[in-house]
């Protein structure tokens, strides 16, 4: 077995036990990257030199008898909307072409302190707005299961890198499903923590009241381990909460007897592909076999979640993205007067999807429409939250498919932007309610557009939990994982070993 095939848990233990050095682990990954990356396009930048320094530091610590941290020597890729001092942070946008960040995000500082080795910055939908990573201004990331398909988004680069074995774990950000959906599309595990659990300081804001940084890994334990490293109060983020960091990675095995899980019928009522639905029900029956009580339930307000989300997120985004004005950093197209500069810079710097959301959000906040759109959406959010509060009085967790479909084909354009937005239908409510939600692979499904020769693609199950109850969410995820472990390991191991992406992807520099 190659070092790049190991999980974070194993790497950290082997490195700490001096069975292998952080540098050896890193070199194995760098070699894997140089082999696979040209055809995968997961990384906007590979931070080779910086990674080598970080790995040698971990080794030096171990040699010096110091504690190297719980992620000792674990390679980690970072979605390129998080700041790392001295490196580029593009957010997948032309707007930030050439921008070099002068400071580091709290989550990355914490992870590095625990011995993680940052290997590079990964591709994303521009400013994290999208579900396919196609709206990146730089390149289109491929899904390692099928290069003609998208890895999901917006954290598609991070998901693809972990799924393809280019990185052991990765960080993404999730505003409406941007961790869970790509995790589902690439057959890995992704967690959106409770809002406030992980500091947002240094994460370029999309929608501040919904954004949350979270971990990707190839198994639940790795995700739990990375969560331990990045969680905790940060006084630099006023929305960060003071809650104990739990050793989640050691609390995964839990009897499911007596556990109550609800399945919101509003989510299953959405147009879910048959294959995905089948895989979901198979997972449910596994959980029932293990003693969990699973019932259909109703959270009526979830029917409006997508509508509320597509008002609130663009509204906040329109304000958050106002700082990209060509004055202090990034792209600046100068005209003869100030207004020319603003208009030209923003029209050139933002791609179509970002513009669309800025326009939508500006409209929803504008005089005469605030009450009808933004305020109504904010009130609807209260109803959604109430429904979750009520449901969690009865159930420990709520379950749904993570996505209505498996990975779709790249380049699919429908006339109606709302069709694309439907990809977030399962996931947005967790962001609106601020609750933790995990996507864990629960099997494979045949894409509806695959035809006869198409291969099965992974699909994920979503576990939503009570605020700050990541412990239960991860434990259920661990049980789901166990139920499909053999099939998953066999298929994804084979996928990675046989991965041969012939075509180089197009990159814009």
């Amino acid at each position: 077995m190659e070092l790049w095939e190991l999980g974070a848990w194993d790497i950290a233990h082997k490195v700490r036990a001096k069975e292998v050095s952080a540098q050896e682990v890193l070199e194995s990954h760098l070699a894997r990257i140089s082999e696979i990356e040209p055809g995968l396009c997961a990384f906007l930048e590979v931070l080779e030199a910086e990674a080598r320094i970080a790995a040698s530091r971990v080794d030096a610590k171990i040699a010096g008898g110091e504690d190297p941290g719980i992620l000792a020597g674990v390679p980690c890729a970072i979605k390129d909307n998080m700041n790392i001092k001295g490196t580029a942070c593009t957010c997948g946008s032309k707007m930030l072409d050439g921008y070099i960040s002068p400071y580091t995000a709290t989550a990355i500082k914490r992870m590095s302190r625990e011995g993680a080795v940052v290997t590079g910055k990964t591709n994303l939908d521009e400013f994290a707005m999208g579900s396919s990573t196609e709206s990146s201004a730089y390149m289109v990331t491929r899904n390692p299961w099928d290069p003609d398909r998208v890895p999901g988004g917006s954290s598609g680069g991070s998901a693809a890198a972990v799924a393809a074995g280019l990185s052991t774990v990765a960080l993404g950000s999730d505003t409406g499903g941007s961790i869970r959906q790509p995790a589902s599309f690439t057959g890995i595990v992704g967690l959106k923590p409770t809002y406030g659990r992980v500091s947002r300081y240094g994460l370029v804001a999309f929608a501040s009241s919904l954004d949350q940084i979270g971990p990707f890994g190839r198994d639940v334990r790795d995700v739990a381990l990375l969560l331990e490293a990045i969680s905790g109060l940060d006084t630099a983020d006023s929305t960060s909460v003071e809650r104990p960091v739990v050793p989640w990675s050691k609390r995964l095995e839990r009897p499911l007897k007596g556990l109550r899980a609800g399945v919101p019928k509003e989510l299953l009522g959405l147009s879910v592909d048959d294959g995905v639905r089948d895989a979901f029900y198979r997972a449910l029956s596994h959980l029932a076999d293990m003693g969990a009580v699973i019932e259909e339930t109703s959270l009526p307000a979830l029917r409006y979640a997508l509508d509320a989300y597509y008002v609130i997120a663009p509204a906040e985004a329109s304000s958050n993205l106002s700082r990209f004005d060509g004055v202090r950093y990034g792209l600046s197209t100068r005209g003869k007067a100030l207004d020319d500069m603003y208009h030209a810079t923003r029209a050139q710097g933002f791609g179509p999807e970002v513009r669309r959301r800025i326009m939508l959000g500006t409209f929803a906040l504008s005089a005469g429409y605030y009450d009808a759109y933004y305020l109504r959406a904010a009130k609807t959010r209260t109803l959604i939250r109430r429904d979750f509060d009520e449901a969690f009085k009865v159930y420990d967790v709520l379950l749904s498919p993570a996505t209505p479909t498996v990975a779709f084909r790249a380049g699919e354009e429908s006339g109606d932007p709302m069709t694309k937005y439907l990809a977030d239908a399962m996931t947005v409510s967790a962001n609106l309610a601020g609750i933790p939600a995990l996507s864990v692979p629960c099997g494979f499904a045949r894409p509806s557009d695959a035809g006869l020769t198409g291969r099965d693609l992974p699909c994920g199950l979503q576990i939503m939990g009570k605020p700050f109850d990541e412990e239960t969410v991860l434990a259920i995820g661990y049980a789901v994982e166990a139920s499909v472990r053999e099939e998953m390991e066999e298929k994804s191991g084979r996928m990675r070993r046989n991965l041969l992406l012939s075509k180089e992807c197009e990159r814009v520099d």
Partner: protein, 481 residues
């Protein structure tokens, strides 16, 4: 022009910079006058990913202002974003308090005519950076230089109700407001340095009519004088328009100090739409009752309270008490003198007379009173014990101020000690008597007034050093016995 047939309604929006060490939402220094762009960080320059954290002291000072203005504190308020594009506003929005301000319903009393001006709201916000327009003025500049040192400095905005009906009332309101904020230690409130900025809203309507005029906003006012001038100008301009049967356009106008007139700043069709949004990066500002109590307890004394103390406890006339509370430094100076044993009325006279006179001549502000209370009290002691005369004391005071030496040092060095020695005085008195036979005869004839002239002659001969009371007695003795 029939100005008298029109009434004006004035409301003021005052922005005041708070006296904190660091900025509203980051830890950069608020120091004034540092080289451009040296007190800056990811937060106050709006770098992507940076987040705000409010300043404890700013909240405290905001509360003090609110308490000083008799306002009702909102124990739960919140922050909002005011969205607009301007190069000195790095995030593209200003963090302010829109839905619920820190405090509401305060007031300021003015005296002429006695009137209560209501304050609608007091809220916290952040200042913008500074734009320096390269060129003659805003309209001809080719480019703008930006300095973000001031960006993010904590402000309170104090919005009055439209309760003022003359430029003079506006001036009084501002003076009183300034005085309260200074005494409360909230701000140094200097219009010249921009730590106090005033926007005026004025509307004009024919007297006796119920229709309210359209408010015009005036900006760029850098002194109280400018406020008064601009309001007077605007009143006349609007009254003239109405007189001519024209309508007043609702707009923002800029005061041109040099031309003493206002001109419209914004005529573009698209009106402002700030698209206010609850600040998602900040939870509500929730104040503990105990925090408010603590601020109340630590509240410095305010002018009204001090005036009452001076008149009731120290027996000063109302006028003196008002003058001494023009400024906190001045009243602290006075308090210190009294504490060091000076007679309150004497100290008040000297401060209001010679000291303030000197400061006025020299153009000094109250920020730095040019002598120490020790020295003033020492001089008052020398005067009281008869070591120096009142006239000499006036000179000594100036010398103390100018040299920094103590009064005793100056008296000693310059030999200014009052002459009370009878032998020395006697010989001078003899000379004066022989030189002025006429007035001496008048004294003998019972003309009391003539004695004054003779005392004056003795004082002149001693260059003011003689003890006038003693000279008076000795002269009478000499002439009448």
């Amino acid at each position: 022009m029939t100005e008298r047939a029109y009434d004006m309604t004035i409301g003021l929006e005052v922005h005041v910079e708070l006296l904190t060490g660091s900025k509203m939402f980051c830890r950069c220094s608020t120091r004034f006058g540092d080289p451009p762009n040296t007190n800056v960080c990811p937060v106050c320059t709006g770098l992507p990913g940076a987040l705000p954290v409010p300043n404890h002291e700013a909240v405290k000072l905001g509360l003090r202002a609110a308490l000083g203005l008799g306002a009702r504190i909102n124990l739960r308020s919140g922050f909002d974003r005011k969205n607009y594009f301007y190069p000195d506003l790095p995030k593209g929005y200003q963090i302010t308090q829109y839905r619920t301000p820190l405090a509401e319903d305060g007031f300021i009393e003015i005296s002429e005519p006695p009137k209560r001006i209501r304050i609608q709201r007091i809220h916290l916000e952040e200042d913008t950076g500074k734009s320096i327009h390269a060129g003659d003025d805003i309209t001809t500049a080719e480019y703008t230089l930006l300095d973000f040192n001031r960006c993010g400095v904590p402000l309170i905005e104090i919005v009055s109700e439209p309760d003022m009906s003359s430029p003079e009332e506006a001036r009084q309101y501002l003076e009183r407001l300034q005085r309260v904020l200074r005494f409360a230690g909230v701000s140094d409130v200097k219009m010249e340095e921009g730590s106090m900025r005033v926007d005026c809203n004025i509307s004009v309507k024919p007297r006796g009519t119920a229709v309210s005029g359209k408010p015009v906003e005036i900006k760029n006012l850098s002194s109280f004088r400018a406020v008064v001038r601009a309001l007077s100008y605007e009143f006349q301009r609007q009254a003239r328009l109405l007189e001519e049967g024209k309508t007043v356009v609702r707009e923002t106008r800029h005061w041109d100090e040099a031309k003493e007139s206002t001109y419209p700043l914004r005529t573009k069709g698209s009106s402002q739409d700030y698209r206010y949004l609850p600040e998602p990066d900040l939870p509500d500002l929730v104040l503990e009752e105990s925090f408010v109590e603590e601020v109340k307890r630590d509240m410095p004394r305010l002018p009204a309270e001090i005036v009452a103390y001076y008149t009731e406890k120290l027996g000063l006339p109302e006028y003196d008490a008002e003058v001494l509370t023009l400024d906190p430094n001045l009243s602290r100076f006075f308090d210190d003198c009294v504490e060091r044993g000076a007679d309150p009325k004497t100290a008040a006279n000297w401060i209001m007379g010679d000291i303030m006179g000197y400061m006025n001549r020299q153009g000094l502000t109250y920020e730095k009173i040019p002598l120490s209370t020790e020295n003033l009290v020492e001089m008052l002691g020398l005067l009281k014990s008869g070591v120096i005369s009142g006239k000499i004391a006036k000179d000594v005071l100036v010398k103390v101020i100018e040299t920094g030496k103590t009064p005793s040092e100056i008296v000693k060095e310059e030999g200014l000690t009052q002459v009370s020695d009878e032998g020395e005085l006697l010989s001078i008195i003899q000379e004066v008597i022989s030189a002025n036979p006429g007035p001496v005869q008048d004294v003998k004839n019972g003309k009391e007034k003539a004695i004054g002239f003779l005392v004056g002659q003795v004082m002149k001969a001693t260059r003011g050093r003689a003890n006038p009371a003693k000279v008076n007695i000795m002269l009478k003795e000499k002439i009448l016995s």
